[in-house]
Protein backbone atom coordinates (compact mmCIF):
# COMPACT_ATOMS: atom_id res chain seq x y z
CA UNK A 1 0.00 0.00 0.00
CA UNK A 2 2.74 2.40 0.85
CA UNK A 3 5.59 2.86 -1.56
CA UNK A 4 8.70 1.66 0.26
CA UNK A 5 11.43 4.23 0.33
CA UNK A 6 15.06 3.50 -0.12
CA UNK A 7 17.42 3.25 2.83
CA UNK A 8 15.13 1.88 5.52
CA UNK A 9 16.66 2.50 8.88
CA UNK A 10 17.40 -0.43 11.12
CA UNK A 11 14.68 0.41 13.66
CA UNK A 12 11.86 -0.18 11.24
CA UNK A 13 13.05 -3.69 10.46
CA UNK A 14 12.40 -4.78 14.04
CA UNK A 15 9.39 -7.10 14.50
CA UNK A 16 6.11 -5.24 14.67
CA UNK A 17 4.46 -5.42 18.05
CA UNK A 18 2.07 -2.61 17.47
CA UNK A 19 -1.48 -3.60 16.59
CA UNK A 20 -4.53 -1.45 16.17
CA UNK A 21 -7.51 -2.41 18.26
CA UNK A 22 -10.10 -2.39 15.49
CA UNK A 23 -11.18 -5.00 13.02
CA UNK A 24 -14.02 -3.59 10.97
CA UNK A 25 -15.03 0.02 10.92
CA UNK A 26 -15.87 2.86 8.60
CA UNK A 27 -15.49 6.61 8.80
CA UNK A 28 -17.45 8.94 6.59
CA UNK A 29 -18.12 12.65 6.51
CA UNK A 30 -20.60 14.47 4.36
CA UNK A 31 -21.60 18.07 3.50
CA UNK A 32 -18.98 19.44 5.92
CA UNK A 33 -19.03 23.22 5.91
CA UNK A 34 -16.80 25.48 7.96
CA UNK A 35 -16.49 29.26 7.90
CA UNK A 36 -14.23 31.57 9.80
CA UNK A 37 -16.74 34.38 10.11
CA UNK A 38 -17.99 35.14 6.63
CA UNK A 39 -14.97 33.44 5.02
CA UNK A 40 -15.92 29.90 4.00
CA UNK A 41 -13.00 27.47 3.94
CA UNK A 42 -14.85 24.16 3.66
CA UNK A 43 -17.85 23.98 1.40
CA UNK A 44 -19.87 20.76 1.55
CA UNK A 45 -16.86 18.46 1.67
CA UNK A 46 -17.44 14.72 1.71
CA UNK A 47 -15.19 11.69 2.02
CA UNK A 48 -15.06 8.16 3.33
CA UNK A 49 -12.59 5.53 4.41
CA UNK A 50 -12.71 2.01 5.85
CA UNK A 51 -10.64 -0.47 7.86
CA UNK A 52 -7.13 -0.81 6.52
CA UNK A 53 -7.63 2.04 4.08
CA UNK A 54 -6.27 5.51 3.79
CA UNK A 55 -7.86 8.69 2.47
CA UNK A 56 -5.48 11.27 1.06
CA UNK A 57 -6.49 14.92 1.27
CA UNK A 58 -4.70 17.11 -1.22
CA UNK A 59 -4.86 20.81 -1.81
CA UNK A 60 -2.76 23.92 -1.87
CA UNK A 61 -2.02 26.13 1.13
CA UNK A 62 -5.17 27.66 2.56
CA UNK A 63 -7.49 25.12 0.97
CA UNK A 64 -8.79 24.03 4.38
CA UNK A 65 -6.87 20.78 4.95
CA UNK A 66 -5.96 21.51 8.55
CA UNK A 67 -9.44 22.81 9.29
CA UNK A 68 -10.93 19.61 7.86
CA UNK A 69 -8.60 17.43 9.95
CA UNK A 70 -9.40 19.45 13.08
CA UNK A 71 -13.13 19.12 12.42
CA UNK A 72 -12.76 15.36 11.97
CA UNK A 73 -10.83 15.16 15.25
CA UNK A 74 -13.58 17.09 17.04
CA UNK A 75 -11.35 20.07 17.78
CA UNK A 76 -13.52 22.39 15.70
CA UNK A 77 -17.24 22.16 15.15
CA UNK A 78 -18.36 22.42 11.52
CA UNK A 79 -21.33 24.73 10.93
CA UNK A 80 -23.04 22.06 8.86
CA UNK A 81 -22.57 18.47 7.81
CA UNK A 82 -22.18 15.13 9.50
CA UNK A 83 -19.31 12.94 10.64
CA UNK A 84 -20.03 9.29 11.20
CA UNK A 85 -17.61 6.76 12.63
CA UNK A 86 -19.00 3.24 12.85
CA UNK A 87 -16.85 0.84 14.80
CA UNK A 88 -17.96 -2.79 14.73
CA UNK A 89 -21.54 -1.85 14.02
CA UNK A 90 -21.64 0.81 16.73
CA UNK A 91 -21.63 4.52 16.00
CA UNK A 92 -19.25 6.64 18.07
CA UNK A 93 -20.45 9.98 19.43
CA UNK A 94 -18.41 13.21 19.55
CA UNK A 95 -16.78 12.36 22.86
CA UNK A 96 -15.82 8.85 21.82
CA UNK A 97 -14.50 10.18 18.51
CA UNK A 98 -12.24 12.70 20.23
CA UNK A 99 -10.87 9.99 22.46
CA UNK A 100 -10.60 7.45 19.66
CA UNK A 101 -8.56 9.34 17.08
CA UNK A 102 -4.80 9.66 16.91
CA UNK A 103 -3.98 13.16 15.71
CA UNK A 104 -0.68 14.44 14.35
CA UNK A 105 -0.63 18.07 13.31
CA UNK A 106 1.64 21.10 13.32
CA UNK A 107 -0.52 22.70 16.04
CA UNK A 108 -0.22 19.72 18.41
CA UNK A 109 2.01 20.82 21.27
CA UNK A 110 3.15 19.47 24.61
CA UNK A 111 4.07 20.90 28.00
CA UNK A 112 7.49 22.44 27.55
CA UNK A 113 8.36 22.26 31.24
CA UNK A 114 7.85 18.49 31.28
CA UNK A 115 10.03 15.85 29.67
CA UNK A 116 8.86 13.78 26.70
CA UNK A 117 8.23 10.77 28.95
CA UNK A 118 6.38 12.83 31.56
CA UNK A 119 4.15 14.29 28.86
CA UNK A 120 3.26 10.88 27.49
CA UNK A 121 2.78 9.51 31.01
CA UNK A 122 0.30 12.32 31.72
CA UNK A 123 -1.72 11.60 28.58
CA UNK A 124 -1.57 7.84 29.28
CA UNK A 125 -3.18 8.49 32.67
CA UNK A 126 -5.87 10.67 31.10
CA UNK A 127 -6.54 7.97 28.52
CA UNK A 128 -6.70 5.36 31.26
CA UNK A 129 -4.00 3.15 29.76
CA UNK A 130 -2.64 0.42 31.99
CA UNK A 131 0.52 -0.07 30.00
CA UNK A 132 1.83 2.61 27.74
CA UNK A 133 2.93 1.53 24.25
CA UNK A 134 4.19 5.07 23.65
CA UNK A 135 7.35 4.34 25.64
CA UNK A 136 8.23 1.70 23.08
CA UNK A 137 7.28 3.94 20.16
CA UNK A 138 9.34 6.74 21.68
CA UNK A 139 12.32 4.42 21.87
CA UNK A 140 11.71 3.14 18.37
CA UNK A 141 11.57 6.69 17.02
CA UNK A 142 14.69 7.64 18.96
CA UNK A 143 13.23 10.45 21.08
CA UNK A 144 15.27 11.07 24.26
CA UNK A 145 12.58 10.41 26.90
CA UNK A 146 14.11 12.48 29.71
CA UNK A 147 14.68 15.62 27.68
CA UNK A 148 12.31 18.53 28.35
CA UNK A 149 9.93 19.13 25.46
CA UNK A 150 11.03 22.77 25.32
CA UNK A 151 14.53 21.57 24.46
CA UNK A 152 13.49 19.15 21.69
CA UNK A 153 14.36 19.91 18.08
CA UNK A 154 11.45 20.29 15.67
CA UNK A 155 12.14 16.86 14.17
CA UNK A 156 12.12 15.24 17.60
CA UNK A 157 8.92 17.10 18.42
CA UNK A 158 7.31 15.61 15.31
CA UNK A 159 8.37 12.13 16.45
CA UNK A 160 6.86 12.85 19.85
CA UNK A 161 3.60 13.84 18.13
CA UNK A 162 3.55 10.44 16.45
CA UNK A 163 4.11 8.71 19.79
CA UNK A 164 1.23 10.69 21.30
CA UNK A 165 -1.06 9.84 18.38
CA UNK A 166 -0.36 6.11 18.51
CA UNK A 167 -0.26 5.84 22.30
CA UNK A 168 -3.79 4.49 22.77
CA UNK A 169 -3.83 2.26 19.64
CA UNK A 170 -6.37 4.46 17.84
CA UNK A 171 -8.70 3.09 15.20
CA UNK A 172 -8.29 6.25 13.16
CA UNK A 173 -5.11 8.21 12.49
CA UNK A 174 -5.64 11.83 11.43
CA UNK A 175 -2.36 13.05 9.99
CA UNK A 176 -1.82 16.67 9.03
CA UNK A 177 1.53 17.07 7.28
CA UNK A 178 2.77 13.96 9.07
CA UNK A 179 6.37 13.96 7.84
CA UNK A 180 7.25 17.61 8.22
CA UNK A 181 10.61 18.35 9.89
CA UNK A 182 11.54 14.66 9.87
CA UNK A 183 14.91 13.44 8.59
CA UNK A 184 14.93 10.44 6.30
CA UNK A 185 15.37 7.97 9.18
CA UNK A 186 12.46 9.56 11.02
CA UNK A 187 10.31 9.56 7.93
CA UNK A 188 11.03 5.89 7.26
CA UNK A 189 10.21 4.96 10.85
CA UNK A 190 6.92 6.87 10.87
CA UNK A 191 5.95 5.53 7.43
CA UNK A 192 6.50 2.05 8.84
CA UNK A 193 4.24 2.90 11.79
CA UNK A 194 1.54 4.11 9.43
CA UNK A 195 1.87 0.93 7.33
CA UNK A 196 1.55 -1.25 10.41
CA UNK A 197 -1.47 0.72 11.56
CA UNK A 198 -3.20 0.08 8.24
CA UNK A 199 -2.18 -3.55 8.04
CA UNK A 200 -3.67 -4.11 11.47
CA UNK A 201 -7.01 -2.82 10.17
CA UNK A 202 -6.74 0.80 11.24
CA UNK A 203 -7.92 3.75 9.17
CA UNK A 204 -6.01 6.89 8.25
CA UNK A 205 -6.78 10.27 6.78
CA UNK A 206 -3.65 12.08 5.62
CA UNK A 207 -3.50 15.73 4.58
CA UNK A 208 -0.53 17.26 2.82
CA UNK A 209 0.06 20.02 0.27
CA UNK A 210 2.78 17.96 -1.42
CA UNK A 211 2.76 14.47 -2.87
CA UNK A 212 3.90 12.17 -0.10
CA UNK A 213 4.32 9.18 -2.38
CA UNK A 214 1.68 7.28 -0.48
CA UNK A 215 -0.31 4.82 -2.54
CA UNK A 216 -3.96 5.16 -1.70
CA UNK A 217 -7.25 4.07 -3.14
CA UNK A 218 -9.07 7.22 -2.16
CA UNK A 219 -8.20 10.82 -2.77
CA UNK A 220 -9.97 14.04 -1.89
CA UNK A 221 -8.80 17.23 -3.55
CA UNK A 222 -9.75 20.47 -1.79
CA UNK A 223 -10.07 23.31 -4.25
CA UNK A 224 -9.92 26.79 -2.73
CA UNK A 225 -11.42 28.42 -5.83
CA UNK A 226 -14.51 26.29 -5.48
CA UNK A 227 -14.99 26.64 -1.75
CA UNK A 228 -13.93 30.31 -1.50
CA UNK A 229 -17.04 31.55 -3.28
CA UNK A 230 -19.28 30.98 -0.31
CA UNK A 231 -22.05 29.46 -2.40
Amino acid sequence: MILPREGNCSRTSQPARYTAAVSTSSFRFDQLTYSYGPRRVLDRVAGTTESGEMLLIEGSNGSGKSTLIRCLAGLQRPQAGSIQWIDQGRELDDVARRRGVGWVGPDLSFYEALSAAENLDFFARLRGLAEDPAVEILERLGVPPQRLVGALSSGMLQRLRWSFALQHRPGMLLLDEPFQNLDSAGEDATRALLRQHLEAGGMAIVASPIDLGLASGRRLVLDPTRSGGGA
Partner: protein, 223 residues
Protein backbone atom coordinates in the same frame (compact mmCIF):
# COMPACT_ATOMS: atom_id res chain seq x y z
CA UNK B 1 -51.91 43.24 10.80
CA UNK B 2 -48.43 44.26 11.90
CA UNK B 3 -49.23 47.93 11.27
CA UNK B 4 -52.41 47.61 13.32
CA UNK B 5 -50.51 46.02 16.19
CA UNK B 6 -47.86 48.71 16.07
CA UNK B 7 -50.42 51.53 16.10
CA UNK B 8 -52.33 49.97 18.96
CA UNK B 9 -49.04 49.77 20.90
CA UNK B 10 -48.47 53.49 20.29
CA UNK B 11 -52.00 54.27 21.37
CA UNK B 12 -51.71 52.09 24.48
CA UNK B 13 -48.49 53.78 25.60
CA UNK B 14 -49.89 57.24 24.88
CA UNK B 15 -52.91 56.39 27.07
CA UNK B 16 -50.54 55.17 29.81
CA UNK B 17 -48.67 58.48 29.74
CA UNK B 18 -51.88 60.48 29.87
CA UNK B 19 -53.19 58.20 32.62
CA UNK B 20 -50.02 58.55 34.64
CA UNK B 21 -50.31 62.31 34.74
CA UNK B 22 -54.05 62.95 34.68
CA UNK B 23 -55.93 59.85 35.82
CA UNK B 24 -53.87 58.38 38.65
CA UNK B 25 -53.95 60.17 42.00
CA UNK B 26 -50.82 61.16 43.91
CA UNK B 27 -49.54 58.70 46.48
CA UNK B 28 -49.47 59.71 50.12
CA UNK B 29 -46.15 60.51 51.77
CA UNK B 30 -44.37 61.43 48.55
CA UNK B 31 -42.82 64.80 47.81
CA UNK B 32 -44.85 66.81 45.29
CA UNK B 33 -45.65 65.06 42.02
CA UNK B 34 -42.70 62.66 42.43
CA UNK B 35 -44.81 59.53 42.83
CA UNK B 36 -45.76 59.73 39.13
CA UNK B 37 -42.29 58.53 38.16
CA UNK B 38 -43.41 55.15 39.51
CA UNK B 39 -45.43 54.51 36.33
CA UNK B 40 -42.25 54.65 34.26
CA UNK B 41 -39.57 53.53 36.69
CA UNK B 42 -41.21 50.26 37.70
CA UNK B 43 -42.10 49.10 34.15
CA UNK B 44 -38.56 49.88 32.96
CA UNK B 45 -37.00 47.91 35.81
CA UNK B 46 -39.43 45.10 35.01
CA UNK B 47 -38.49 45.27 31.30
CA UNK B 48 -34.78 44.97 32.02
CA UNK B 49 -35.59 41.92 34.14
CA UNK B 50 -37.68 40.44 31.29
CA UNK B 51 -34.90 41.27 28.81
CA UNK B 52 -32.18 39.49 30.80
CA UNK B 53 -34.38 36.43 31.33
CA UNK B 54 -35.12 36.46 27.57
CA UNK B 55 -31.38 36.65 26.89
CA UNK B 56 -30.80 33.69 29.22
CA UNK B 57 -33.49 31.62 27.47
CA UNK B 58 -32.03 32.38 24.03
CA UNK B 59 -28.53 31.58 25.33
CA UNK B 60 -29.68 28.17 26.58
CA UNK B 61 -31.40 27.55 23.24
CA UNK B 62 -28.21 28.50 21.42
CA UNK B 63 -26.17 26.06 23.48
CA UNK B 64 -28.71 23.32 22.78
CA UNK B 65 -29.09 23.85 19.01
CA UNK B 66 -26.12 26.02 17.99
CA UNK B 67 -28.35 28.17 15.84
CA UNK B 68 -26.66 31.57 15.34
CA UNK B 69 -30.09 33.27 15.21
CA UNK B 70 -30.59 32.38 18.89
CA UNK B 71 -27.31 34.06 19.76
CA UNK B 72 -28.28 37.21 17.87
CA UNK B 73 -31.58 37.21 19.79
CA UNK B 74 -29.71 36.89 23.10
CA UNK B 75 -27.39 39.75 22.19
CA UNK B 76 -30.29 41.98 21.15
CA UNK B 77 -32.10 41.21 24.42
CA UNK B 78 -29.01 42.12 26.46
CA UNK B 79 -28.58 45.42 24.57
CA UNK B 80 -32.18 46.39 25.20
CA UNK B 81 -32.00 45.11 28.76
CA UNK B 82 -29.05 47.40 29.38
CA UNK B 83 -30.95 50.34 27.90
CA UNK B 84 -33.94 49.72 30.19
CA UNK B 85 -31.60 49.06 33.10
CA UNK B 86 -29.87 52.43 32.64
CA UNK B 87 -33.23 54.19 32.32
CA UNK B 88 -34.52 52.49 35.48
CA UNK B 89 -31.33 53.40 37.36
CA UNK B 90 -31.48 57.03 36.25
CA UNK B 91 -35.19 57.48 36.99
CA UNK B 92 -34.63 55.76 40.33
CA UNK B 93 -31.73 58.05 41.16
CA UNK B 94 -33.70 61.19 40.25
CA UNK B 95 -36.55 60.06 42.43
CA UNK B 96 -34.13 59.15 45.26
CA UNK B 97 -32.75 62.72 45.10
CA UNK B 98 -36.24 64.13 45.48
CA UNK B 99 -37.35 61.73 48.20
CA UNK B 100 -34.23 60.81 50.18
CA UNK B 101 -32.05 63.82 49.38
CA UNK B 102 -29.27 62.00 47.56
CA UNK B 103 -28.92 60.40 44.15
CA UNK B 104 -27.23 57.35 45.58
CA UNK B 105 -27.89 55.66 48.93
CA UNK B 106 -26.61 52.09 48.42
CA UNK B 107 -30.11 50.92 48.84
CA UNK B 108 -30.09 47.13 48.18
CA UNK B 109 -32.15 47.50 45.03
CA UNK B 110 -29.96 50.32 43.75
CA UNK B 111 -26.91 48.17 44.43
CA UNK B 112 -28.32 45.08 42.75
CA UNK B 113 -29.41 46.93 39.62
CA UNK B 114 -25.97 48.47 39.24
CA UNK B 115 -24.27 45.07 39.64
CA UNK B 116 -26.60 43.62 37.00
CA UNK B 117 -25.69 46.59 34.80
CA UNK B 118 -21.97 45.86 35.19
CA UNK B 119 -22.50 42.14 34.61
CA UNK B 120 -24.30 42.55 31.29
CA UNK B 121 -21.93 45.31 30.19
CA UNK B 122 -19.20 42.68 30.74
CA UNK B 123 -21.24 40.33 28.51
CA UNK B 124 -20.95 42.86 25.66
CA UNK B 125 -17.23 43.39 26.36
CA UNK B 126 -16.71 39.63 26.16
CA UNK B 127 -18.45 39.55 22.76
CA UNK B 128 -16.19 42.32 21.49
CA UNK B 129 -13.10 40.42 22.55
CA UNK B 130 -13.80 37.28 20.50
CA UNK B 131 -13.37 37.32 16.77
CA UNK B 132 -14.60 33.89 15.68
CA UNK B 133 -18.43 34.07 15.54
CA UNK B 134 -19.12 30.55 16.81
CA UNK B 135 -16.67 30.89 19.74
CA UNK B 136 -18.18 34.29 20.51
CA UNK B 137 -21.70 32.93 20.52
CA UNK B 138 -20.75 29.92 22.64
CA UNK B 139 -18.84 31.79 25.35
CA UNK B 140 -21.27 34.71 25.49
CA UNK B 141 -24.13 32.24 25.96
CA UNK B 142 -22.26 30.53 28.79
CA UNK B 143 -21.72 33.89 30.46
CA UNK B 144 -25.41 34.77 30.13
CA UNK B 145 -26.34 31.42 31.74
CA UNK B 146 -23.83 32.05 34.55
CA UNK B 147 -25.66 35.33 35.11
CA UNK B 148 -28.90 33.43 35.68
CA UNK B 149 -27.10 31.21 38.22
CA UNK B 150 -25.47 34.02 40.21
CA UNK B 151 -28.12 36.76 40.11
CA UNK B 152 -30.46 35.18 42.71
CA UNK B 153 -27.66 35.72 45.22
CA UNK B 154 -27.89 39.48 44.72
CA UNK B 155 -31.41 39.40 46.07
CA UNK B 156 -30.64 37.83 49.41
CA UNK B 157 -26.99 38.77 49.84
CA UNK B 158 -27.23 42.50 49.20
CA UNK B 159 -29.86 43.26 51.84
CA UNK B 160 -27.16 42.23 54.34
CA UNK B 161 -25.08 45.25 53.49
CA UNK B 162 -27.84 47.72 54.13
CA UNK B 163 -30.22 46.03 56.50
CA UNK B 164 -32.90 48.66 56.15
CA UNK B 165 -34.30 49.72 52.84
CA UNK B 166 -35.88 53.01 51.95
CA UNK B 167 -37.34 51.48 48.82
CA UNK B 168 -41.10 51.46 48.88
CA UNK B 169 -42.68 48.04 48.46
CA UNK B 170 -44.20 49.36 45.32
CA UNK B 171 -46.76 46.79 44.34
CA UNK B 172 -46.52 43.79 46.58
CA UNK B 173 -45.74 44.41 50.22
CA UNK B 174 -44.48 42.11 52.94
CA UNK B 175 -47.93 40.76 53.67
CA UNK B 176 -48.09 39.53 50.08
CA UNK B 177 -51.18 41.58 49.33
CA UNK B 178 -51.53 44.35 46.81
CA UNK B 179 -51.65 47.58 48.74
CA UNK B 180 -52.22 50.42 46.32
CA UNK B 181 -54.91 52.79 45.31
CA UNK B 182 -56.87 51.08 42.53
CA UNK B 183 -56.52 53.80 39.87
CA UNK B 184 -52.76 53.89 40.44
CA UNK B 185 -52.60 50.13 40.17
CA UNK B 186 -54.57 50.19 36.90
CA UNK B 187 -52.16 52.66 35.32
CA UNK B 188 -49.11 50.83 36.66
CA UNK B 189 -50.25 47.46 35.32
CA UNK B 190 -51.24 49.00 31.99
CA UNK B 191 -47.83 50.69 31.70
CA UNK B 192 -46.06 47.45 32.58
CA UNK B 193 -47.97 45.59 29.86
CA UNK B 194 -47.28 48.40 27.40
CA UNK B 195 -43.55 48.53 28.16
CA UNK B 196 -43.27 44.74 27.94
CA UNK B 197 -44.89 44.80 24.50
CA UNK B 198 -42.59 47.68 23.56
CA UNK B 199 -39.60 45.59 24.62
CA UNK B 200 -40.59 42.62 22.49
CA UNK B 201 -41.26 44.88 19.50
CA UNK B 202 -37.84 46.58 19.88
CA UNK B 203 -36.30 43.14 20.35
CA UNK B 204 -37.63 41.95 17.00
CA UNK B 205 -36.41 45.13 15.30
CA UNK B 206 -32.97 44.73 16.83
CA UNK B 207 -32.76 41.10 15.66
CA UNK B 208 -33.73 42.16 12.14
CA UNK B 209 -31.05 44.85 12.14
CA UNK B 210 -28.31 42.48 13.29
CA UNK B 211 -29.38 39.82 10.77
CA UNK B 212 -29.30 42.36 7.92
CA UNK B 213 -25.92 43.63 9.09
CA UNK B 214 -24.53 40.09 9.10
CA UNK B 215 -25.79 39.44 5.55
CA UNK B 216 -24.28 42.70 4.32
CA UNK B 217 -20.90 41.91 5.86
CA UNK B 218 -20.73 38.52 4.18
CA UNK B 219 -21.79 40.03 0.85
CA UNK B 220 -19.10 42.71 1.10
CA UNK B 221 -16.50 40.05 1.77
CA UNK B 222 -17.50 38.00 -1.26
CA UNK B 223 -17.58 40.91 -3.73
Amino acid sequence: MKTLLRWSLWLWIALCIVGAFLYAPLAEGFVGQSSRILFFHVPMAWCSFVAFITAGVHAIRYLARRDPAQDRAAEAAVQLGLLFCVLATVTGAIWARVMWGAYWNWDPRQASIVIVLVFYAAYLVLRDAIEDPSTRARLASVYAVLGLVVSPFFFFVLPRIVEFTLHPDSVINQRGSVDMESRMLQVLLAATVGFTALFFWLHRLQIRISTLRMHRESEELVS
